[in-house]
Symmetry: C2
């Protein structure tokens, strides 16, 4: 079944990435044509993708989304399996983000965006107890979703064992950790950063299987960082260490 | 006029902070009573705040919000003025975040949360061209809004001049900056970090008035970091530098 993506950025990024078949683009007759819309039309023509100008009633089913008067029917995102990822990944020092029970679509979208910006090599998502890619995720990710492998696994704990067997180090974020996230060295290892659910955090079994458990030091006794913001702080610390 | 806050965390945090008058708490008869609801009832009793159990039809006007069956009428957030903030702030090295045209309520909520976690001393918001505190911001901030001064100013450029006159350094985030955000030293100055609008970035006049303009290095040519995630990376780098 096709997915629907909406918003100018999402449609444009999907056309640029070009790795998912786009079946049709619908553009509202009522929207103002700007540089992005023109670029979308141009790329659609080049790639033989049909686009149609339609009345705004066609957007009625999507009214709860911020669609900006443009939607596209697109082949669903292709998830990778972990073995294929590991075979294809030839980096000396890789980085992965593992999501353990993220429930909020906006958070998943923001995480995907930040991972692409920070050059993370892939995101591992469990097939259950975690939000999967939906229209909100596609939109919030601002098209980033087409620029990073999403790896779906049935068991996170098995995936972690496979990663460890392949020389990856597991770093889990947990509020009660002893080490701060900036106390470990990310620049001479391949690592997978595990981020937990908004409320429950990383599962106990995964914490136990981790090589490092790190926290973000909190001021004000207010321990309630949004998961994408927490991940951003940690992942960009690894970028900093690898660059300086 | 009163504000409405919704969700267990928001109501609980407002009771704990105790600096805004709560007029009434409405709890749905249909919700499951858990530790948070019990704590809310306990604190409400202690502080003489009325709470009522009501049918779910009372929540009909708030159905687009994730209210979890609990809302409260609360005095609107009090904004501070910059002069009062500067008089009260006695830290040797302070930190502020200045928002220049943030439009998205979820982003503002996440920024407030991260600022509280990182021990930022206050957030400066222009009275125009920026989202102000509304119910979505209150909810997304998970109550953080009660733990940090929000400073509303009529002119950002004037506020920046006042800050500079008081010995603060201005650090603006901009994608085309030459310096990386981790190349400057945050540990021996009071600084205000300016984050720009989701699309337009920091205004030209503010960039010109800044002491430092910094960027987050982007991989993959994908320059589209969510503003709260960008701020998180920079602000926690300042925390790291001040701690190590």
């Amino acid at each position: 079944m096709d997915s629907v993506i909406y918003g100018k950025n999402s449609v444009l990024e999907a056309l640029i990435a070009g790795d998912r078949e786009i079946n049709k683009i619908l553009i509202s007759k009522n929207i103002h044509t700007d540089a992005k819309i023109n670029r979308i039309k141009e790329l659609a023509k080049q790639n033989g993708v049909i686009f149609q100008f339609v009345g705004k009633e066609k957007f009625e089913p999507y009214k709860e989304f911020n669609h900006q008067g443009i939607i596209a029917n697109i082949a669903p995102i292709k998830y990778l399996d972990l073995e294929t990822f590991l075979e294809n990944n030839k980096k000396e020092y890789g980085s992965l983000v593992i999501l353990d029970g993220i429930e909020d679509s906006h958070n998943l979208g923001a995480i995907i965006r930040t991972c692409v910006c920070a050059g993370v090599d892939g995101i591992i998502i469990p097939s259950r107890r975690n939000v999967l890619v939906n229209s909100t995720v596609e939109k919030t990710s601002a098209g980033a979703i087409n620029h990073i492998p999403l790896i779906k696994v049935n068991s996170l704990i098995n995936a972690i064992q496979v990663l460890k067997d392949n020389g990856w180090w597991i770093v889990s974020a947990d509020a009660s950790a002893k080490q701060n996230y900036y106390d470990i060295k990310y620049n001479d290892m391949s690592f997978a950063l595990v981020m937990g659910a908004e409320h429950a955090g990383v599962s106990k079994s995964i914490l136990k299987a981790s090589d490092f458990v790190v926290k973000i030091p909190m001021e004000n006794n207010f321990n309630s960082l949004n998961v994408s913001n927490a991940m951003s702080a940690i992942i960009f610390e690894s970028v900093r260490q690898r660059k300086v």
